[in-house]
Every structure is written in structure tokens, then in C-alpha cells.
């Protein structure tokens, strides 16, 4: 009996180890070869003399920081707009009963499921005519399709978790509707709001299809620009690795910060982890 227990435990941990190797080794490998020089790339595996020349080449001698900055501007602004317009909407969906409520809620969710290419094709034409092509405003606007549904659906769940009694009590204390919202409810949903915003930022940051078509040379996000490092005539694998590693860094750090709320955010509030 005891032997069998040890055996199953070894099996379980072995399988987990196998999967985590599959999941994590590519990331480890990326960081590893980002320190390899072009010459070492071909004749060494794990043992080599690390060098910073790839980082030097990518970060200092190309426009990498400009792409990084563009990504930050677009993602942060997109999340800010979504928070300003989305949080009140989430409140309305959580607290009021009105006609077509579920239809509206589903409509907002369906933006997330719309094929990105379908949005991009006609929008490309409109943006060119309207002068929104290759601008921050244009990208921030189209990013709303990613960040808005996420924020509204997740925050709606957090509002629903708050008892109505708290609002009634605050109203009895003489607060107006607006004050109740700002002074009583917002502090209560703050952890949820912060984590949902960070997750929305990650999604916006990681998007590729929208900036690929709706921006050109003036605004270039990091996901699109990273592909450039493949396309160059002489392939510098180490530089590709640097471009990938640095662009993945913010998302991974933010993900660590919101561990507790991650499940809830990823499932749009459907699974309350």
C-alpha cells in the first residue's frame, strides 16, 4: 500500500515536471540565448561565455525603445478610456434592471469574440480617409474592443458582490448617488479594478492584429516591431531573443501582481476564483 502511494506520487510529480518543462523551457531558452554571441549560437548549447552585445545592439542601436514607448502609450491610454467609460457601465449592468439589459451586456461581450480581421479590414479604409491611420488615437480607439468588454464584465461581477445594503446605508447618511459611487463603492472594488485594468493592459500590450494593419511607421507597437528582427537579411538569433524577452517582461511582471484575481479576469468574471 505504501509502495503504491509512493509510486503514484512519483508519477504525478513526474508528469507535472514534464509539462512544466514544456511550458517553461522555451522562456528559459529565450533568456539563455539572448546572452549568446552570434558565433556561439551555432557551436554551443548550455555552456558558453555570456555577452551583452545583443542587448546593446537591440536596445541602444535600434528604435526598440521607441516601439516600447508607443506600446506603453497606446495600452495605457486604451485602459484609461475603458476604465472611465466602462466602470459606470458595469455598475449599471450590476445594479439596475432595465429593458434589454442582458442583450446589451452580451453585445459588449460579443466585441471580444468578433474576428479581429473583420474589424481591421473595413477600419483600415475608414482610418485612411479619416486620418486616424497610423495615429495613437486610432489605435487607442480600436483597442477599446479588447479592453472595454473585459473591464465591464469583470467589474460588473465585483459590483454584484457588494451588498445593496451598503448603498442604502450611505444614501441614508445623506450621500448623493454620485457620492455613494465615488466614496463607498469605488474603494470596495479597488482591488478588482486594479487587477482587471492590469489584465486589460496585458491584453492590449499583447495585441498584434490591430497595430499590424492600422499603424505604419509613425506608431509602431512592440509586437509588430518584433517581427522585424526575423525579417532582416542577416539573421541575428540573439537579437530576436532580446526583442522577445524585453517585450514579454511587463506582461509577466503584471501577471505576478494579480495572481489572486487572474482567473476571474481571464474568464471575464464567469469563474470566481
Amino acid at each position: 500500500m505504501k509502495k503504491k502511494k509512493i509510486f503514484t506520487s512519483i508519477c504525478k510529480n513526474g508528469l507535472l515536471l514534464l509539462y512544466s518543462l514544456f511550458a517553461l523551457f522555451p522562456l528559459f531558452w529565450m533568456i539563455l540565448i539572448s546572452f549568446k554571441s552570434d558565433a556561439q549560437m551555432f557551436n554551443t548549447t548550455f555552456i558558453f561565455s555570456p555577452t551583452l552585445e545583443n542587448y546593446d545592439a537591440v536596445l541602444l542601436r535600434t528604435n526598440y525603445f521607441r516601439y516600447f514607448k508607443d506600446s506603453v502609450i497606446v495600452s495605457v491610454c486604451a485602459v484609461a478610456v475603458s476604465v472611465l467609460a466602462g466602470v459606470p457601465a458595469a455598475y449599471a449592468l450590476a445594479r439596475y434592471n432595465f429593458k434589454k439589459k442582458e442583450d446589451l451586456a452580451f453585445q459588449i461581450l460579443s466585441f471580444k469574440f468578433a474576428p479581429e480581421i473583420l474589424v481591421v479590414l473595413p477600419l483600415f479604409m475608414i482610418y485612411q480617409k479619416a486620418g486616424l491611420y497610423d495615429t495613437y488615437t486610432g489605435l487607442i480607439w480600436v483597442y477599446q474592443l479588447i479592453t472595454m468588454p473585459l473591464l465591464i464584465w469583470v467589474i460588473r461581477g465585483y459590483f454584484e458582490d457588494i451588498s445593496v445594503e451598503i448603498e442604502h446605508a450611505a444614501q441614508v447618511d445623506g450621500y448623493s448617488w454620485w457620492q455613494v459611487f465615488l466614496k463607498r463603492l469605488l474603494p470596495l472594488i479597488k482591488p478588482g479594478l486594479v487587477s482587471a485594468s492590469l489584465l486589460a493592459f496585458i491584453f492590449a500590450w499583447n495585441n498584434f492584429t490591430f497595430p499590424l494593419q492600422l499603424s505604419g511607421t509613425k506608431v509602431e507597437t512592440i509586437t509588430v516591431a518584433s517581427l522585424k528582427y526575423i525579417a532582416s537579411d542577416t539573421v541575428h538569433y540573439g537579437q530576436m531573443a532580446v526583442a522577445a524577452a524585453v517585450s514579454a517582461l511587463p506582461a509577466v511582471i503584471f501577471a505576478l501582481l494579480i495572481q489572486k484575481h487572474l482567473v476571474r479576469g481571464l474568464s471575464f468574471g464567469a469563474v470566481k476564483g
Binding site: 512544466s20 466602462g86 474576428p115 479581429e116 480581421i117 479590414l121 480607439w141 538569433y237 522577445a244 464567469a270
Partner: protein
């Protein structure tokens, strides 16, 4: 406190009559007013949807100075084009394999993680989400580095088993496998953490009584765990199915749909027709077709999920008529 509450409530009931009409109107309209900005921002961007339908009936191209109305020629061309049916087949196959593997592997790993509690699994629960946070395009770049036959670690690994120059994304036979593998690498953690959170919130008592009854592990899984996990599995399936049906980033970054037309799903085909071949009008039917498929499937699943969610928990609602000002 109670006294004050009562007095306040009474005072509100005695509100002057003439104000009531405007007040009621504002109260009724408030939820719509609150939602207006978010709807304007998102719906404004949706004008393209309507335009897409119109332009799918024209021969619009960025090269032609003028476009003309061609009725259903684009649609007929599409349905008679074998490339379209190939794209549908690729789309379905990709979605089936990617979603299937992710669901099965995700469920398995989540069960293992949920049932063992030691330091190793505690760390794993955090770090396993990393691939999900890396942009799919970046993930694809990483895998291209891994599968590169000149410098990639996977080539060196396969050499140990006597396999040389495995073709990965470069050959017709292995391209789908490679793309699905990358999709699984990126999105399996999503399924894992969703189902894991479901497992962790399962009630303990049914499992304790099952232990006394002495049922086998498989029996418990089939008859206790799986039924109770259904809502979670449902959500994971919905999200993965929707996304893998329209996958673009991974395939585009990997081979741009190649080699040949091996990985040309509907998204990539529409993109190529519209931008690479500049046949804008002709590209729209492809994507509208995909949109119809996705919308039908999504609405079905979401409606059912909403029903189950409502049954699971009552909602905190301010009744429509009693809304406070």
C-alpha cells in the same frame, strides 16, 4: 439608526408630486445614460461591420480608382473557389486540434495540480501562467528559435534520438502540428488555471463519503468531479473555441499561412486576399462567413452559461421601480 432610516424613507415618500414625473424619467433613463459612453466608444467602431457587408458586394480595391457594385459575384466566387473550402477545413481542423489538446491536457494537469499540495505545485501554479502572458506573436518567435534547425535546441534534442533535420513549420506534413503545439503552449495555462480554480472550490463532503464507500479514483472522477466542474469546463471551452477558430497571430507570425496553403485558415485567407492581393471587396465574404459561424456558436454557449450562472446565485438588484435618486 433605524429611526433615522424610517424618517428618511418617509420623507422621500412625501416628495412633491410635480417633481415625480421628471424624476421617474431620469431614474428610468439613468442606466442607459450611464452606459452610453461605453456603448458609443465600442459601437462607433462597429460601423465597419455594416460597411463590411456593403463592400462585400463591390469590387472595391485599393488599386482601382473607382469601385462598382457587383452584387453577389464575390460571394459566388468564394463559394465556388476550392481555396475557400480548403480554408474552412483548415480553420475547423486547427480549432479542433488546438482546443481538444488544450482541454484534455489542461484538465489533466489541473487535476494533478489540484490533488497534490506541496511546495513544487505551489510554485507551479504561479509560474505556469507565464506562457499565457507572453504575446502569442512573441511566443511564436521563441518557438521559431527553438525549432530552427541551425541553432535550435529541439534539433539538438532530436539528434539524440537519431532524428535529423525535423522539418517543423517548413513542411506540409508537420506545419499544422507545429502551429497547434505553439497554440497549446500559449493557451493551455488558460485552461489549467480556470479548471484548477474550479477544482479548488469543489465541496469536500461528497468526496469524503465516496472515500468511505471505497469507489475507485476513476469512478469518483467520472461521477463527482467532472459533473461539478462542468461550468468551468464550459467557460474554458467557449473562450478557446472562439479564439482558435479565428487564430491569426500565431499562424501569421509562424509561416504567413504556408508552406503553400497548408495553414491558410479563414482569417489568414481574408487577410491575404484583402491586403496582399489588394482585392478588398473579395476578402470580406471570407471573414463575414467566419463571423457568422463564431457568433452562432458563441451566443448558444453564452446563453446556456448565463442560465446556469443565474441558477447558481441570486443577484443583488435594485428593483426597477424602487430605484433611488
Amino acid at each position: 439608526m433605524n429611526m433615522i432610516l424610517k424618517r428618511k424613507l418617509n420623507r422621500e415618500e412625501e416628495a412633491p408630486r410635480e417633481d415625480l414625473n421628471t424624476l421617474a424619467w431620469i431614474t428610468r433613463a439613468r442606466p442607459y445614460l450611464i452606459m452610453l459612453p461605453s456603448l458609443l466608444i465600442t459601437t462607433g467602431i462597429l460601423i465597419p461591420f455594416a460597411m463590411a457587408v456593403y463592400y462585400s458586394l463591390t469590387n472595391y480595391s485599393f488599386r482601382l480608382p473607382q469601385n462598382s457594385f457587383v452584387w453577389f459575384r464575390n460571394w459566388i466566387n468564394m463559394f465556388t473557389d476550392p481555396a475557400f473550402w480548403h480554408a474552412v477545413w483548415v480553420t475547423l481542423r486547427y480549432a479542433f486540434f488546438a482546443t481538444g489538446v488544450e482541454m484534455l491536457l489542461g484538465l489533466g494537469i489541473a487535476m494533478l495540480l489540484g490533488n497534490t499540495d506541496n511546495r513544487f505545485t505551489k510554485i507551479l501554479k504561479v509560474v505556469l501562467t507565464f506562457p499565457l502572458m507572453v504575446a502569442p506573436v512573441i511566443g511564436t518567435i521563441i518557438w521559431q528559435l527553438m525549432t530552427n534547425n541551425a541553432v535550435g535546441i529541439l534539433e539538438k534534442f532530436l539528434n539524440l534520438f537519431g532524428i535529423y533535420n525535423f522539418s517543423w513549420a517548413a513542411a506540409h506534413e508537420t506545419a499544422m502540428f507545429t502551429a497547434v503545439m505553439i497554440d497549446v503552449w500559449v493557451y493551455c495555462p488558460f485552461v489549467i488555471i480556470l479548471i484548477l480554480s474550479g477544482i479548488q472550490s469543489l465541496p469536500k463532503s461528497p468526496f469524503e463519503s465516496a472515500k468511505i464507500d471505497g469507489g475507485s479514483a476513476w469512478f469518483n472522477f467520472r461521477n463527482l468531479t467532472l459533473p461539478m466542474l462542468k461550468p468551468c469546463i464550459y467557460i474554458a471551452l467557449l473562450f478557446r473555441l472562439m479564439a482558435s477558430l479565428q487564430e491569426f497571430s500565431i499562424i501569421f507570425a509562424l509561416t504567413k499561412g504556408g508552406p503553400g496553403d497548408t495553414l491558410m485558415n479563414l482569417s489568414v485567407t481574408a487577410y491575404n486576399t484583402g491586403f496582399a492581393f489588394q482585392k478588398f471587396g473579395a476578402s470580406l465574404p471570407y471573414i463575414l462567413c467566419l463571423w457568422v459561424i463564431i457568433n452562432i456558436v458563441a451566443r448558444q454557449i453564452v446563453n446556456r452559461w448565463m442560465l446556469s450562472q443565474k441558477q447558481a446565485s441570486g443577484r443583488n438588484l435594485i428593483p426597477e421601480k424602487g430605484g433611488k435618486s
